[in-house]
């Protein structure tokens, strides 16, 4: 409990510092809010174009897909607020030798490496995600009320899935001179996450629920909220995210052994 409080206080300090720095650059703050709003609109336009030409894809109707979009946007927005900037700058941490400072601090280095920069400009988009869930929910089979607790739980699962996936890509910066290439590769694969897994053929469906578990960011959480996820989905979720946790910790430790402390 004492350790938890200690880390919570560190988190609070980082949160406060980031809040201040975000509001120093107000124009950028509002521009970033606008940029993500456009991103959501474009995602919605993509599905709107597809569904203006067809009624259902592999059993996924328009309201169900938009409900998925709401869950996905909420989970993605949480990731953007708390982790996106940190992971984007993670390669710098290693390539410029800034990790030295974190390793000498009296706190877990992996925690400090993953919780550095926040992005409060996305908070309004979190509400937009909830609005999409609410707006398309009834037609998709979402009853609201206590089911909202299920939404909050599953978008947290989506957040965890994305943190593990992003970390597993970015940790290769220990071995690469330009870690940004891996970050870009991540965002290419990330396109697998912004469509419901049901529209993919069987092979891809298993791929994104096992080796590349992007389905756990939005697709499986959306189905779980609607009560459509299967036992197999839950087993794959536990197995896959568990494996990724072990893999990330292993790669981090091996990476630290390789780290040469370039700046010192």
């Amino acid at each position: 409990m004492k350790t938890f409080r200690y880390y919570l206080s560190i988190f609070g300090v980082i949160l406060k510092n980031n809040f201040v720095s975000d509001f120093i650059y107000r124009s950028n703050f509002f521009a970033m809010t606008f940029a993500d709003l456009i991103w959501i609109l474009l995602e919605a336009s993509f599905f709107q174009i597809i569904y203006s030409n067809i009624n259902a894809i592999n059993g996924w109707t328009r309201p169900q897909v938009f409900f998925f979009l709401g869950v996905f946007v909420s989970s993605e927005t949480l990731f953007t607020i708390f982790f996106q900037r940190t992971f984007w700058r993670f390669p710098e941490l290693i390539n410029l030798g800034d990790l030295d400072i974190l390793l000498t601090k009296p706190a877990n280095a992996i925690f400090l490496a993953c919780v550095r920069y926040f992005n409060f400009s996305q908070v309004s988009n979190l509400f937009l995600g909830f609005w999409i869930i609410h707006h398309f929910g009834a037609e998709a089979g979402f009853t609201g009320g206590l089911q909202w607790f299920s939404v909050f739980f599953w978008i947290t699962v989506g957040l965890l899935a994305q943190v593990l996936l992003r970390f597993s890509f970015v940790v290769w910066s220990f071995w690469l001179e330009r870690g940004f290439a891996v970050s870009r590769l991540y965002y290419q694969f990330y396109s697998l996450a912004n469509k419901p897994d049901g529209i993919y053929p069987v092979f891809f469906r298993y791929l994104i629920k096992s080796a590349l578990p992007f389905a756990f960011i939005g697709s499986v959480p959306a189905q779980a909220v609607l009560g459509k996820a299967t036992v197999q989905d839950y087993l794959l979720l536990v197995g896959s995210l568990g494996t990724y946790t072990v893999l990330c910790l292993f790669l981090w430790r091996r990476g630290l052994q390789r780290y040469q402390s370039a700046s010192s």
Partner: protein
């Protein structure tokens, strides 16, 4: 100015551009693994996703046509976008805003070359490697498809015009960095809109007819959709010529816009840091 001075200046104008291109090429292949990862990531993954989407619509949903297009037509379109989406790419505008933000623009202002052109030429080095690779693969693929090498080359030329326009729009937008502390968001918005309206994600003919004016009003369709239509023989040679003309008109218009925006903005630039 005598003849030898003119000749010397012309030679210098060519020399620095070639040097910048060469420099960009060397920089791109200095980190080979990363270069390869970037090509694979930016080319293969989006294409696979599109192919999977079409497969789902046609094979698992049982559709025979989608917005008037057959499965085969959509597959051909997707493969062709693989080539042209690589040509339009590049994050050179992000380099420009970073230079303005951090003050490293100072170093470039001291050089006897135009900063925007210099950045473009460096990026062109990397792009030439990719274009050569794409053209090679494309011409190879003509042996197994109905696409003619001539159509493919016409498409490539239109895509190159699109590449110049893409950079110019980015360069014009990056002038926002002179006013905002970080113009990252502006370029992100532009990139997101381009990804949809260039035809990279979906054929633009899928957009309902009443909204087609949206993509026709921008030059983004010249980046991927236009070249793909030319290569697949959907646009005739005369249509290609018209689109090249439109593309060149955009280039002229954008060069004026860049001159105006950067001219005004540079007066505000303080060159701190760098």
């Amino acid at each position: 100015m005598n003849d030898s001075e003119i000749s010397s200046r012309s030679w210098w104008a060519l020399e620095w551009r070639l040097a910048a291109i060469q420099n960009g090429m060397r920089d791109a292949i200095a980190y080979r693994l990363e270069f390869l990862l970037e090509i694979v990531g930016s080319a293969a993954v989006p294409v696979i996703l599109q192919l999977v989407l079409w497969y789902s619509i046609f094979k698992t949903s049982g559709a025979t046509q989608f917005a008037g297009m057959t499965y085969q037509e959509l597959i051909s379109y997707t493969w062709m976008t693989l080539l042209f989406s690589q040509i339009r790419g590049g994050d050179l505008d992000f380099s420009l805003i970073e230079m303005i933000r951090t003050g490293t623009l100072n170093n470039y202002l001291l050089r006897p070359v135009g900063v925007i052109q210099f950045i473009y030429m460096r990026g062109l080095g990397e792009r030439i490697l990719i274009v050569t690779l794409c053209l090679g693969l494309g011409i190879l693929s003509t042996a197994f498809s109905s696409v003619s090498p001539f159509q493919l080359i016409l498409g490539m030329l239109l895509a190159l015009v699109g590449n110049v326009i893409a950079f110019m729009i980015g360069a014009a937008l990056s002038s926002v960095a002179f006013y905002w502390e970080n113009a990252f968001a502006a370029l992100m918005v532009k990139n997101m809109i381009v990804s949809l309206l260039s035809g990279e994600l979906l054929p633009l003919t899928l957009i309902p007819h009443q909204y087609s004016w949206i993509w026709k009003a921008t030059p983004f369709y010249l980046f991927v959709f236009g070249p793909t239509q030319v290569a697949l023989g959907k646009w005739s040679a005369s249509e290609w010529a018209v689109q090249m003309g439109i593309g060149l008109a955009w280039i002229i218009g954008l060069s004026l816009v860049i001159k105006l925006l950067w001219g005004i903005s540079m007066k505000r630039y303080q060159g701190l840091g760098g």
